[in-house]
Symmetry: C2
Subunit: 139 residues, 2 copies
DNA sequence: CATCACGAAACTTAAATAGTTACGAGAATA
DNA sequence: TATTCTCGTAACTATTTAAGTTTCGTGATG
C-alpha cells in the first residue's frame, strides 16, 4: 500500500459495510481484505468514529459497524472525517515580504478553496449505499 | 523548503519575470530569492522550458527569460507544464477483483477528473502579468 | 582560452506515510 | 473469577517521495 491510502481504505471499508450494515467487523478482518495491518485500520476508522460515522465496541463480540444508515453517509462525510485535504495548496505560508508571492498565494488559495468546496459538493451527492449497491462480495 | 514547492517556486519566479520580462535571470539569483538551490531551480524551470514558457541560454550573458509576453502566460500553463496533478486520486490501481472497490474507484476518479478540469479552467483565467501586476520589487 | 551559465547524472538528506510491536482497558464468555 | 477477544494508543521501524547537494560536461561570451 502506498500513499494517500487512508481515504481509499476508508471508502472501501464503508462501501462493504453499506452492503451488510448489521455485520460486526473486526479490524483484523478488514485489514486482511485491505491488505494492510489491523492497527492501520483502527487508526483510519478511529477518525471516522470521532466523526460519528462508525461505532466500535471492545470485547468478544466487538468490532466496527456503521453508526447510521448507509443511505445517510456520503463520500463527502468520509472525506471530511479524515481531514486530509487532497487539495494541497503549497503549504501554510508565513507572511511573505514579497508582494508578488503574496498576490500569488492569495489567488491560488482562493482558487483552491473554491475547488475543494466543489469537490465536497460532488462527493456529497453519492452515498455509500449507492456505491456498495448490488453487491454480495466476500467481506 | 518542503513539499510540493515546485509549483510555488515556478509561480513565484514567473510572477517576478512578468514584472520585468526583459531581464535575464540566472538560476543562482532565482535560487537565492526562493531560498533554495540553483539546481532545484533549473530542474523546475527546465520543465517550463520544455513546455515553451521559458527560454534559457548558456554562457556569459546566460540565464532565464520568458518565452512570450506575460499577458500570454496563465497560471494554468504553469500548472500543466509541471504535470504534477494536485489532485491525488489514491494511485494508479491494478484491476481490483473487488467490485465495491472498483465502483468506488470509478466514481472517485470521475469526480477528480472533473475537479481537475475545473481547477485548470480557474487557473487559466489569470495571467502572470495580472498577478505580478503593480510591482517594483527587488528581483 | 578563461569564464560563466545551463544540463544532467548521481548521491545525500529530510520529511511524510505506512507498517509493526507491544501493552493496557473494557466486554463477553465460560 | 479467569480467560479470551478486541479496541485504543504509544513507540518504534521501514518505505517512499521530494528536496538539496556535489560534480562534471557543454555551449556561449568576452
Ligand atoms: S476486499 Fe472488497 S471484498 Fe474483500
Ligand atoms: S523573492 Fe519575490 S522578491 Fe525576492
Amino acid at each position: 500500500m502506498k500513499r494517500n491510502s487512508r481515504l481509499s481504505l476508508a471508502l472501501h471499508t464503508l462501501g462493504h459495510m453499506a452492503v451488510n450494515p448489521r455485520k460486526m467487523r473486526t479490524s483484523a478482518e478488514i485489514a486482511e481484505h485491505a491488505g494492510t495491518n489491523p492497527v492501520v485500520v483502527r487508526r483510519v476508522l478511529g477518525k471516522l468514529r470521532q466523526a460519528g460515522l462508525l461505532i466500535s465496541e471492545k470485547g468478544h463480540a466487538g468490532g466496527w459497524q456503521l453508526a447510521r444508515e448507509p443511505q445517510e453517509i456520503t463520500l463527502a462525510d468520509i472525506y471530511l472525517a479524515l481531514d486530509e485535504s487532497l487539495i494541497a495548496t503549497g503549504r501554510t505560508e508565513e507572511p511573505s515580504r514579497c508582494s508578488v508571492e503574496h498576490a500569488l498565494h492569495q489567488k491560488v488559495a482562493s482558487v483552491m478553496a473554491d475547488i475543494e468546496k466543489s469537490l465536497i459538493e460532488r462527493l456529497a451527492s453519492t452515498t455509500i449505499a449507492e456505491v456498495g449497491g448490488a453487491e454480495s462480495g466476500h467481506l
